[in-house]
């Protein structure tokens, strides 16, 4: 079954520390993976998609098909990174076209 697992409900780090938000997926096809972020009182917004291989706000994520992972990393966390982070798997095949979300990880960056 298609599934996205984010094992950490809450991750708390100090400003300047490295951050890694874990995401593992289960999908029988070729996965399309995304990270969405939700800042306090704001809407869900796309942070990264694996196909772009880009760095946004200092965050990167590499798709590891062997480990079925798509962990989100940032070398030096900032206080403004505090938010809910959702890993999402795009189901695209036939008539499908939707996102399966993980439960989310709340990142708290302390000064």
């Amino acid at each position: 079954a298609q599934r996205v697992t984010q094992p950490e409900k809450l991750l708390s780090v100090f400003k300047g520390a490295p951050v890694e938000l874990k995401c593992n997926y289960s999908y029988s096809g070729s996965p399309e993976l995304f990270w969405y972020v939700q800042y306090s009182r704001q809407r869900l917004q796309l942070l990264l998609r694996h196909i772009s291989r880009e760095s946004i706000k200092g965050f990167t994520a590499d798709l590891n098909k062997g480990e079925t992972s798509f962990h989100l990393k940032k070398p030096f966390a900032q206080e403004e990174d505090s938010a809910m982070y959702y890993c999402a798997l795009g189901q695209y095949g036939g008539s499908q076209g939707n996102l399966i979300f993980g439960k989310g990880t709340k990142l708290s960056v302390k000064p």
């Binding site: 704001q42 959702y86 795009g90 996102l99 979300f101 989310g104």
Partner: protein, 114 residues
Amino acid sequence: EPEVTQTPSHQVTQMGQEVILRCVPISNHLYFYWYRQILGQKVEFLVSFYNNEISEKSEIFDDQFSVERPDGSNFTLKIRSTKLEDSAMYFCASSLERVNTEAFFGQGTRLTVV
């Protein structure tokens, strides 16, 4: 910057009543979605809509639910007879394409069934 807008931001309704949640997707987008998030749980897919018909729906989207694009700009989610367990945050989203494209989300409507 264009945004997906949802109204109302908070809706309180009595169990058994019908509710309609409204969304205005981004104007040139072709694919529309509803998701919901029960408090403390993950965001769950409900339904996707393209070319004036449902293209996919989840197990959650039973006969109590329906969607409509009545006038070419609004996209509505109707819950026919609300249950307590329908209380959740409902998110509308839209995208330009189906595959590997960014879905833009609205701010959400918090539905409270009492």
